[in-house]
Point group: C2
Chain length 476, copies 2
């Protein structure tokens, strides 16, 4: 950049702003989604992300460990600053559009979940530690946000030994649970197993007014639960019993299973992989149709919508439109048309739509409800009603034993394969690979996906080398 003119005041950021900025995420899982997007987006391009809880000194911490590209010091500074977003320039493959947009996800997401975050990152040329900590900034009475950072050269994890570096190290050792440089280096060394990657540790997790932690790690040891989610949906608050909260609002595992329209990255929660639901491929009586609102320009592509009956057990509760933006879920089970009436019409019907050209809200948990959005919803409601009317024979019987087609994701290449008719998805082994596909045309990882499959091929190289999904190294 050009050098700044001398003597002009820098706009400062008060440490309190870290909290201010995080209040846009009312729902805790909305903050998780920001951190998941960061691993998924093309500048990092992780093929797996481990989300876990670890106790450090009897306090639960959240861990996010990805095997993506990692960051050097310059990128880490941007991640710990506000409004720096280079994701566009990494987007070499048109088809993988970054969800991130604003350069604010890490700050708003991590500071929503806890007061302090420690970031370990290893890229091809160096390894770094960064510290974004409200506790530290309060303790030193800072009136600006400063972020202690350490940079180590590879392969030996050497660093400069000057006074500045020492100050950075001191700050981290004094205000984090890591009490020696050796323990920091051990974390950086552990990242070696995936060659490059990033581990984020969030501690001093957010508590409810009652003093209880907002996240529940006990009820389900394979999940992270948010028992008291904020209900942003205002539609039914005076009709619906308060306990009638959809499961994805409460279970991180369920939320992650529908977070991406075309799931690619493997997400492992507390040691157990999330079984992604390729929701548009799990319907039965599926109908593809197109909708073009009158205000759209002549050359604009119409909106694709896939409508069908849900095959899930919860089909009587979880139905409506699934609204995605650049592959990422913005709104789940939005009831439209008949589904808003107090009768059985529309029950069990799911519509899947991706609206890349509509602006998401600031916290990426909805779309801005402008006139364009409202007119699209009205149009899609019509489509859904028409579908329901056309399904007279299906609507009242308990359909949904099997989707029209069963698809499986290869645990090596992460591509999705359509299985032979009649295959029961539930009968598949826990780990599934292309070679297990009985369709000989698509039983090797180097084959492209079927054209009805997601338009974009996965990011991972086609190799049979297994990626690291080893247990986490312990925090010392």
């Amino acid at each position: 950049m050009a050098s700044l003119p001398e003597g002009i005041q820098l706009s400062k950021i008060n440490p309190k702003y870290l909290h201010t900025n995080s209040t846009s995420h009312v729902w805790a899982f909305g903050a998780f989604a920001e951190l998941i997007d960061n691993a998924y987006d093309p500048d990092v391009g992780a093929s797996s992300l481990i989300i876990d809880m670890q106790e450090v000194g009897n306090m639960p911490c959240l861990i996010f460990l990805d095997n993506g590209a990692g960051m050097d010091k310059e990128k880490l500074i941007k991640m710990l600053s506000f409004g720096f977003c280079d994701k566009g320039i990494y987007n070499r493959r048109e088809s993988h559009k970054p969800v991130g947009l604003y350069g604010n996800g890490f700050k708003s997401g991590s500071m929503r979940l806890g007061k302090d975050a420690l970031v370990f990152s290893r890229c091809e040329k160096s390894a770094c530690v960064g510290f974004l900590s409200q506790t530290y900034l309060e303790a030193i009475g800072a009136d600006s946000i400063i972020v202690p950072i350490l940079e180590y050269s590879l392969p030996d994890l050497k660093r400069n030994n000057n006074r500045q570096c020492h100050n950075n190290l001191e700050a981290i050792l004094q205000y984090s649970e890591f009490k020696s440089e050796a323990s920091l280096k051990a974390e950086l060394n552990a990242l070696k197993s995936s060659v490059t990657g990033t581990k984020i540790i969030i501690f001093n997790l957010h508590r409810l007014q009652s003093g209880k932690g907002e996240l529940d790690f006990q009820s389900d040891r394979k999940d992270i639960r948010c028992p008291d989610p904020y209900m942003e949906d205002t539609t039914n608050f005076d009709n619906r019993p308060i306990n009638d909260t959809p499961e994805y609002k409460i279970s991180l595992r369920v939320y992650c299973s529908i977070l991406y329209l075309r799931p690619r990255m493997k997400i492992i929660i507390r040691g157990h992989p999330v079984k992604s639901k390729y929701i548009s491929k799990r319907l039965c009586q599926t109908e593809d149709s197109k909708y073009k609102p009158s205000w759209m320009k002549r050359n604009d592509k119409p909106i694709d919508i896939k409508i069908g009956f849900s095959c899930e057990k919860e089909r009587k509760e979880n139905y409506g439109l699934m609204l995605y933006h650049k592959n990422r879920l913005m709104r789940a089970y939005e009831r439209v048309g008949y589904q808003r009436q107090a009768n059985e019409r529309g029950v069990g019907v799911i519509g899947v739509v991706e609206l890349d050209f509509i602006t998401p809200t600031h916290n990426k948990q909805d779309f801005n409800r402008d006139n364009h959005f409202n007119s699209i919803m009205a149009g899609l409601a019509g489509k859904l009603n028409a579908y329901w009317n056309s399904q007279k024979e299906t609507q009242n019987i308990d359909v949904g034993k099997l989707p029209d087609w069963t698809w499986a994701q290869c645990d090596n290449c992460l591509m999705w394969r359509r299985l032979l008719p009649g295959t029961d998805g539930d009968s598949l082994p826990k780990q599934w690979f292309c070679r297990m596909n009985k369709d000989a045309q698509y039983n090797r990882c180097f084959e492209d996906e079927e054209s009805d499959a997601p338009v974009d091929t996965p990011r991972r190289k086609r190799t049979n080398k297994k990626r690291n999904t080893e247990p986490l190294s312990e925090v010392r």
Copy 2:
């Protein structure tokens, strides 16, 4: 503050973050509300705020001119930085709670409305000019937000003449519409008429995708209109015709008239004062009641709710709950209970509630919809239904010629006076003063308000000296 340790990286704010941060305000008037709150809050404590449009070089600009306390350089820097909020410490009168909370209103509000903002402020000891400008930061390729500031001593508007000051001046003259220091000083001099005060000029106003400005200054020369507001209310998007937008969403004048539960500050839009609606005092068949949700602690104060029939012409459209937080409107005409049914029950009934203990959303246009909020809404819905059932005789006749009582606000002391029974509010003169009250007990500005009046007395000193509401000085 303590001095910061040497050599630790400062977290930066990219100029692009100014836009990012402003996206929390979807609706333009939500951004106006932030700037109005700033004038109203106790640290500024303005008794009048002028909102206007001025053309500068054929481009419309927005003007916000208050007669509040003004800012010195130190406060101005905080206003142009992020997360600095000293409003609590100015709150000497318990009853006037600040709306501002986060130290982000000016940045998110002004940068939502336009790309650039120039701030003129005059306090008791000095006068200042500050410049928050996306255009300027883009032009110089800044990677951090810097804010040119000039400080002048009083009464002669003298400043330091060093190189740093010169750089600040140059930046403002080159990138704003003010092309000479004399024109800047003229603005600061114009603020003298109200002794202290602040004038904000926002230029390069936001445009819609079509290229048209989003604000309409033409249709009504006494108003600022937002013809295409974002409908945040998702309730009815597939039933309601799209044109059925409540007037307060479109007319700034109407929005300002209900913005505060107990209106105190005079707001003058385009030369014409807003007639504040003291909404809880404009109902008929009013009933006061209390509601205490089961989860509230024993010593917590129950929620006061005032329910009555609207006396407005638009009573068949504008009804529901008016939800306030610390005197500021968060949500208007929220339909609950019977009002959500497709019949006539509950039509025309308004409930007024102030929920200071519930957290507003990040953009202060709603409450966080947590379980506490939802349970309160359910309880209030019950109250409203019960009220409706008790009003069998009133509900079907066209009530609402006159409220139970007529109240008027004195244009001098800003206190509210209850008029004698039978007085028609519409027959009052444009300017009304205590001395015109026929109730001899409350016909002088030094009398307190009636106990049924707002609990807090107004901030202005009781003097008969008229405050400045002269026309704006012109921008040169």
